[in-house]
């Protein structure tokens, strides 16, 4: 099928493939049947079907015996570049008439006209124009036929005859058996300008996008003709897919014709290549459309296309750095021409601008993007529109999960998918894979392919971190060190670089020591294996790869959320986060602490961290963490929280902070509801259990028991029933019911945690973080 040159289409094919614009064709034919007194102008963008319609009209006239007796269609070249004066136009018309007569086997008439035409060559312009027009009119009068001038690119002709438009108008205003049916890619100013000779002279027909029904009819017809039953099947069975194609093509007949076979593409991985090929076919057409634009319009269209989503005039102005008035005027012009569409922005009164034909935008992204993230965004957007969000997610998932990765999957593809995915965790994984691939392929000019100051700015810390970890591994591997038995530079590099707690700064300090010939003992405290069971395999591996920061390097609430989301469920992970920050990094700020507090098991984690902080003799900080954990929650603390609190209190007592602990409990409102516990701590602070004698009997028993247990040495477990008894027994029936129904979780503490809680966690002297 000839899509760019309908003139080359055989007659039969032209008739068979003409399915859009039938109603307009019928109207034009009807008008000719009624006498053809009206001049017409068809206005439509490239690919809208103007030329095809003109050619089809010519064939219709010739094929209809009655109409052929009344009319003769004159086909002009698509661009009449030779027209500079009125005589050129009329002589072109006579040439076209000669062709038409020869086609109809009226050779004698054709020859007479040719001879008459030749006689006009030597005349001056005014006379030649007059006589050539007269020749045409004379023939029409004698033949009693209406001469139908099918003038493509009429705007070009009128532009070239600008100085003679009144004369041309006069010629077309009299009853001389001439009718013009012209076509133009834009509404001609001369047809709108009130002062212009051709103001409202033509009956204008705008060839807008096909309606969905018309487009479906066209595609069905094309599929039957091309014998692609798969396309017809999809039309019937998957209307959503057709709708997506319709949206992508903007209802433009040529684009629909070129791309309708996209419907037959399946979900396989070949789709990218197949689509690539199809879009290549569109290149001459789309490139021409873009090249047609004036320079300033091209600048605007470039920004709009690269933006993909609707862009406001203000955003476009920022991107182009052009004057806002210029931008607004250009945007308006581009909307008028149909290249851009104005769309409402959700949740805003403003309007945005986007490329109206989405496939054009996809094509542009394919060709124009230097940045990795944009390079394949065209493909991803196609998938999203064509297959939907679910399929897009499925492909993204498969992409990131593939082990080993397909060697054809480029970083660009990962980034493109990342841009399109709303699932944050998946998006992060995709971006990380892109970073890893970029680094593996040693794309040194990473700043060339990633917009690290723009849309990829959030990747900069990850890139730095991955680089730093690689460097750490490399430096350790290079260091000439005598490793203790059972350790190698490779194993050391892994352990240190992948440690989930230690900050980068801390790790670098260790590397310095190694390079100085003082490698640490990596067995005690550095073993990663226990962390898998505390934090979970996923989190440890994610931190180890550099995708997420080590716990001591957390700086944002987002990172905390990401880490907790990946961690094994339970208070341990939270505790480790809090502890790592308190001990190895900069303490968590109020916002992050509040975030942690709100998480399930957040209170337990904070209290545990407080215990370790207190071991470091930082009472103020420990107090702060506990009061944050238990404030306003004293009525809804679960058994886990209480157990953790009791452990903390033991530490307080051991550290001689019993009085302060009692004050803390009082401030937290725990004097009544948690009376046994509170009274026990007060008694310890006073150094005697005398005050407990004045308690009510049921409370006295519990308090006395806690009094004993809290003073026991480190390492001894507090029985569950004691923990249960920390709460006041009121009403007694409720408490019994609660006690009998509650199955406390085994607050198993790993050896590591216990050892950490009881010992100085800082095994090596870690230089303070440089401010």
């Amino acid at each position: 099928m000839t899509l760019y040159n309908p003139h080359l289409l055989p007659r039969h094919d032209l008739v068979e493939t003409f399915v859009a614009r039938q109603p307009l064709l019928d109207d034009l034919v009807d008008d000719l049947r009624r006498g053809g007194g009206q001049h017409h102008l068809l206005v439509g963008g490239r690919g809208s079907g103007k030329t095809t319609l003109l050619l089809r009209l010519a064939v219709t006239i010739e094929d209809d015996k009655t109409l052929a007796r009344k009319c003769i269609p004159l086909r002009f070249p698509e661009e009449q570049y030779n027209v500079a004066r009125p005589s050129d136009f009329w002589m072109n018309a006579i040439d076209a008439l000669v062709d038409a007569l020869e086609r109809q086997d009226e050779r004698r008439a054709a020859k007479r006209l040719e001879s008459a035409l030749a006689e006009l060559e030597h005349l001056d312009e005014a006379e030649r124009a007059r006589r050539s027009l007269a020749l045409l009119e004379s023939w029409a009068r004698q033949a009693t036929r209406l001469v139908v001038l099918l003038v493509d690119n009429l705007d070009l002709v009128l532009e070239r005859l600008a100085a003679d438009l009144w004369g041309l108008r006069e010629a077309l205003s009299i009853d001389n058996h001439l009718v013009v049916i012209g076509a133009s890619s834009k509404l001609i100013d001369e047809a709108i300008d009130y002062q212009s000779p051709f103001y409202d002279f033509f009956h204008v027909h705008e060839l807008g996008p096909l309606s969905e029904a018309e487009a479906r009819h066209l595609v069905r017809s094309l599929a039957r003709r091309a014998k692609t039953p798969r396309v017809e099947e999809v039309l019937e069975q998957d209307p959503g897919r057709f709708k997506a194609l319709y949206v992508l093509t903007g209802g433009t007949p040529r684009t629909l014709a070129l791309l309708h076979t996209v419907l037959a593409l399946d979900h396989s991985d070949r789709i990218e290549r197949d689509l690539d090929g199809l879009l290549d076919q569109l290149t001459p057409y789309y490139k021409a459309r873009f090249d047609d634009l004036p320079a300033q319009s091209q600048v605007i269209v470039d920004k709009v296309a690269l933006h993909w989503h609707p862009i406001t005039a203000a955003e476009c102005q920022l991107a182009t750095r052009l004057d806002l008035n210029t931008v607004s005027a250009q945007l308006t012009r581009l909307v008028k021409s149909g290249l851009l569409a104005k769309v409402s922005l959700p949740g805003s009164a403003k309007l945005g601008f986007q490329i109206s034909e989405r496939f054009f935008n996809i094509w542009y992204l394919m060709r124009a993007s230097r940045r990795l993230r944009r390079r394949l965004s065209w493909f991803v957007e196609f998938l999203r529109i064509f297959y939907g969000e679910e399929d897009l997610r499925r492909r993204a998932d498969a992409l990131v999960s593939a082990q080993p990765p397909d060697r054809l999957d480029s970083p660009a593809k990962f980034l493109a998918f990342a841009s399109a995915i709303s699932d944050e965790a998946l998006r992060r994984r995709l971006e990380f894979r892109a970073i890893v691939l970029v680094m593996e392929h040693e794309i040194t000019a990473i700043r060339e392919v990633m917009d690290l100051e723009g849309e990829d700015v959030h990747l900069a810390p990850i890139i730095d971190r991955v680089r730093a970890l690689r460097e750490i591994r490399a430096r350790i591997a290079k260091a000439k060190v005598q490793w203790p038995a059972g350790q190698t530079s490779k194993s050391a590099a892994e352990v240190i670089s992948r440690h989930p707690i230690l900050s980068l700064h801390h790790k670098e300090s260790i590397v310095h020591l190694i390079e100085a010939g003082k490698p640490p003992n990596l067995v005690d405290g550095f073993d990663i294996a226990p962390w898998y069971s505390i934090l979970g395999v996923r989190l440890v591996d994610t931190i180890g790869s550099g995708e997420l920061p080590a716990l001591a390097d957390i700086t944002t609430a987002t990172e905390i959320q990401q880490i907790i989301a990946l961690a094994k469920p339970g208070w341990e992970a939270i505790a480790e986060v809090a502890t790592a920050k308190e001990l190895f990094g900069s303490p968590l700020d109020g916002e992050m602490l509040r975030l942690i507090r709100l998480m399930p098991d957040g209170a337990s984690g904070l209290i545990f961290a407080a215990s370790l902080v207190l071991e470091g003799n930082n009472w103020t900080r420990a107090r702060y963490l506990v009061s944050l954990a238990i404030r306003k929650t004293s009525t809804d603390m679960d058994m886990e929280d209480v157990a953790m609190l009791v452990a903390f209190l033991r530490t307080c007592i051991r550290k001689g902070r019993a009085k302060e602990a009692a004050e803390l409990l009082a401030e937290a409102g725990m004097t009544e509801r948690w009376a046994p516990l509170y009274e026990a701590v007060c008694a310890i602070a006073e150094g005697s259990s005398v005050r407990l004698d004045s308690l009510a009997p049921e409370m006295r028993v519990a308090a006395l028991e806690l009094f004993e247990q809290l003073r026991k040495p480190e390492g001894s477990q507090i029985p569950d029933d004691s923990i249960e008894a920390t709460r006041s027994s009121e009403p007694p029936m409720t408490n019994l019911h609660a006690a009998s129904s509650h199955k406390p979780r085994k607050h198993k503490r790993s050896k590591t945690l216990r050892s950490r809680a009881g010992s100085n966690p800082v095994q090596i002297s870690a230089p303070r973080r440089m401010k």
Binding site: P23, D27, R34, G35, G37, Q38, H39, V43, L123, D124, A126, E127, R130, R131, D164, W166, G167, R169, E170, L172, S173, D175, K186, L187, D189, I192, D193, Y194, Q195, P197, Y199, D200, F201, F202, H203, V204, E206, T332, V335, K336, S337
Partner: protein, 409 residues
């Protein structure tokens, strides 16, 4: 034998059953020219005594009316009707050529063509120069000026046994071209003065009557170039819209021609949408309604959808919005917008006093405001935005007004 009665019957049928083709843009004649009987009679009556300057904005139907007047006077043989469009003329000689050609192509005017004069004026031949009375002088460079040859030609023309009613279309285009070619104004003054003299010549008093018409107002052009004395002999005669009954009948006949039924309610709705009832506006709306109706009967609800599709032609309508700045510049375009906004709000438009009040804040000085208002309203009128009717300035096009309300205000 049988064919003849059949053909006659068909012709008779066609004569009785009027078919108006919906032709937009091109001047119409014969059965496609509807109504205007009162206007034709009035204009014909005036031209028996006076020369006329036919005033009307574009697309009102001036040219079609002129053609109809030609046919009318030819039919009743009261005069030789001559139509001549001088739009393509850019020089005085071309003007004279066009008018004389118009005369000589009529059956009555053919015999008025005198050989040597016609040759002198280059009529009927493609020659640049003529040996005139053996002098061997090239006409293009000779003196006396072209008026003398033109005078001689018209001196022959007035010998006609019947009066000539010469209808000259698009004269302001030539006048503007002449004015632009000579900024001093001498050339255009000389031309208009000559033409006035021709009109006033005693020899032509009973034989020559002129009707001058144009898309651009000749009165505006002459006022701008201070040439009003050259046309003060012309009777100003405006051509306005149809009266509502005529508009209804026009629509009904159009509908009949296309086998459609338009009820009174629908006709009223069309007229209301059109606003200013010139044939062009009615035809445009009828055309789009017909496209929407296809094979079904049109209804008022369908009209709304049809109008919406017309208003969707943003390219066309937004042009009117944008050109304000191009033609007036700042801050006059802002004043123009204020005026248009006022006129748009009411389909009947606004009075001059209301318009003056509207721009009072922008132009506080009373005298300056009056001048500014006059100038800008002139421009808006000349450029097709507004027309004056019954003392109010209203949008010329009801569709444009609707677009203005919807998208510009």
């Amino acid at each position: 034998m049988i064919q003849r009665p059949c053909r006659t019957t068909v012709l008779l049928y066609n004569k009785i059953v009027v078919r108006i083709e919906n032709i937009i843009g091109k001047p119409v004649s014969d059965q496609n020219f509807f109504g205007r009987d009162r206007e034709l009679a009035e204009l014909q009556g005036i031209t028996e005594r006076e020369h006329v300057l036919l005033l009307a904005p574009r697309r009102v139907g001036k040219t079609s009316l002129l053609h109809a007047l030609v046919k009318r006077v030819d039919r009743d043989t009261s005069a030789i009707g001559v139509y001549a469009s001088v739009a393509a003329a850019t020089t005085e000689i071309q003007f004279v050529q066009a008018v004389l050609n118009g005369i000589y192509t009529t059956p009555g005017g053919r015999k008025l063509k005198r050989g040597f004069v016609a040759r002198a004026l280059g009529l009927g031949r493609g020659v640049k120069s003529v040996k005139f009375a053996g002098s061997g002088v090239d006409l293009e460079t000779r003196t006396p000026p072209w008026q003398e040859d033109a005078d001689r030609a018209f001196a022959t023309v007035v010998t006609s046994d019947r009066p000539l009613l010469i209808l000259i279309d698009e004269l302001p285009v030539l006048v503007l071209a002449l004015a632009n070619s000579d900024p001093s104004g001498a050339r255009v003054r000389a031309f208009l003065q000559w033409f006035r003299n021709l009109r006033q010549h005693p020899a032509g008093a009973n034989k020559l009557r002129f009707v001058l018409a144009g898309s651009i107002g000749l009165d505006n052009v002459t006022r701008r170039h201070r040439l009003t004395d050259t046309i003060n002999d012309l009777r100003l005669w405006p051509l306005g819209p149809f009266e509502p009954p005529a508009a209804h009948e026009f629509l009904r006949q159009l509908a009949d021609s296309y086998q459609m039924k338009l009820g009174a309610e629908l006709c009223s709705a069309i007229c209301k949408t059109a606003g200013w009832l010139i044939p062009f506006h009615l035809q445009v709306i009828f055309s789009v309604l017909r496209e929407h109706a296809r094979d079904s009967s049109p209804a008022v609800e369908m009209l709304e959808a049809a109008i919406e599709s017309l208003l969707d032609r943003r390219v066309y309508f937004s042009y009117w919005d944008e050109r304000l700045h191009e033609s007036l510049g700042a801050p006059s375009d802002a004043i123009a917008r204020d005026l248009l906004a006022l006129c748009a709000r009411d389909p009947e438009g606004a009075t001059s006093s209301a318009m003056s009040l509207t721009i009072a804040q922008r132009v506080p000085d009373v005298l300056e405001r009056a001048n500014t208002l006059k100038w800008i309203v002139d421009v808006l009128s000349n450029d097709g935005y507004l027309v004056e009717q019954d003392g109010r300035w209203r949008f010329r096009s009801g569709l444009l007004r609707r677009y203005w309300v919807r998208h510009v205000l």
